[in-house]
């Protein structure tokens, strides 16, 4: 398969998988009246479970950002870190690994939110 076709296929897969996950979440909102916070937690736990049983790395291989950008990927990164931590540090590593693996994202999110809060004021809706 030529490289260009392969690239386009990858992008299509990224778009479709990211879109389908969001559509599934939207369907849960309109059909079950679950609040967004609950749906986030459900998808997060699904990501943790998928990583823990070893399925997520195959999803990541094909759908790339399509599964790593939705909150599913955050859960998978936490679980991956915790499992690696347990492998390298033993028992206590399971508690540290998840946060270590996701520390950069959380740190950047907190710092960026801090700066933006200083600069911008809430606007009336």
């Amino acid at each position: 398969m030529p490289v260009a076709v392969q690239k386009i296929l990858t992008y299509l897969l990224v778009f479709a998988s990211g879109g389908l996950l969001c559509m599934l979440a939207q369907l849960l909102i309109v059909r079950t009246k679950l609040t967004p916070a609950r749906i986030l937690v459900i998808f997060l736990c699904a990501g943790i479970l998928l990583e823990a049983v070893g399925v997520f790395k195959y999803m990541l291989q094909y759908a790339k950002a399509g599964v790593s950008v939705p909150i599913l990927g955050f859960g998978a990164a936490l679980a991956k870190g915790a499992i690696e931590g347990a492998k390298t540090l033993g028992f206590m590593g399971a508690f540290a690994g998840g946060l270590t693996a996701t520390a950069m994202g959380i740190g950047v999110a907190v710092c960026a939110s801090f700066v933006v809060t200083l600069i911008f004021s809430p606007r009336t809706k």
């Binding site: 992008y11 559509m23 986030l40 809060t117």
Partner: protein, 156 residues
């Protein structure tokens, strides 16, 4: 007492019927499409940034590049939240806006900004995790459990 609960139950049933009757049906399909394409485009954009970084920093491994890519879209989402653009996107796309990690960043920034008028420390900064708190708590607890289970399995 039981009569009263029955009344309440009947009232709830009537109310739910009413809610179902007034909820527009056609908008469900539209909202699904909206969340599909916004979520898809967010992931596609992230993939583009990922490949740009891969090209720009060929010496870094995939995990690091992936982390840089996530940080980039998180910062973008927080800035868009500050500028008031992300709220509009959220109203338009629903889950398409909040399910990606950009929604996580938006939830943190918007709840921090919302309480700015009540002071920076006791107002805004105590609210940083008021929306994303459940995600972090559940994430830490269940991922730690996953790590512990793998640890126990590795003992045998």
């Amino acid at each position: 007492m039981s009569e009263q609960t029955e009344q309440v139950e009947q009232r709830n049933k009537r109310y739910n019927k009413y809610v179902n009757a007034v909820t527009p049906k056609s908008s469900i399909f539209k909202s699904l499409i909206k969340s599909f394409w916004v979520g898809g485009v967010t992931c596609l954009f992230a993939q583009g940034i990922f490949e740009l970084y891969q090209w720009a920093f060929p010496s870094l491994d995939t995990t690091t590049i992936s982390a840089y890519m996530l940080c980039t879209i998180i910062v973008l989402a927080v800035i868009l939240t500050g500028a008031g653009v992300f709220d509009k996107l959220g109203r338009y796309a629903g889950a398409g806006a909040f399910l990606p990690i950009t929604g996580f960043a938006n939830a943190m920034a918007s709840s921090a900004m919302e309480f700015k008028t009540e002071g920076l420390i006791l107002g805004s900064q105590t609210k940083f995790f008021s929306v994303v708190g459940p995600v972090l708590v559940n994430g830490v607890v269940w991922s730690a459990l996953a790590g512990l289970i793998h640890y126990v399995i590795s003992l045998f």
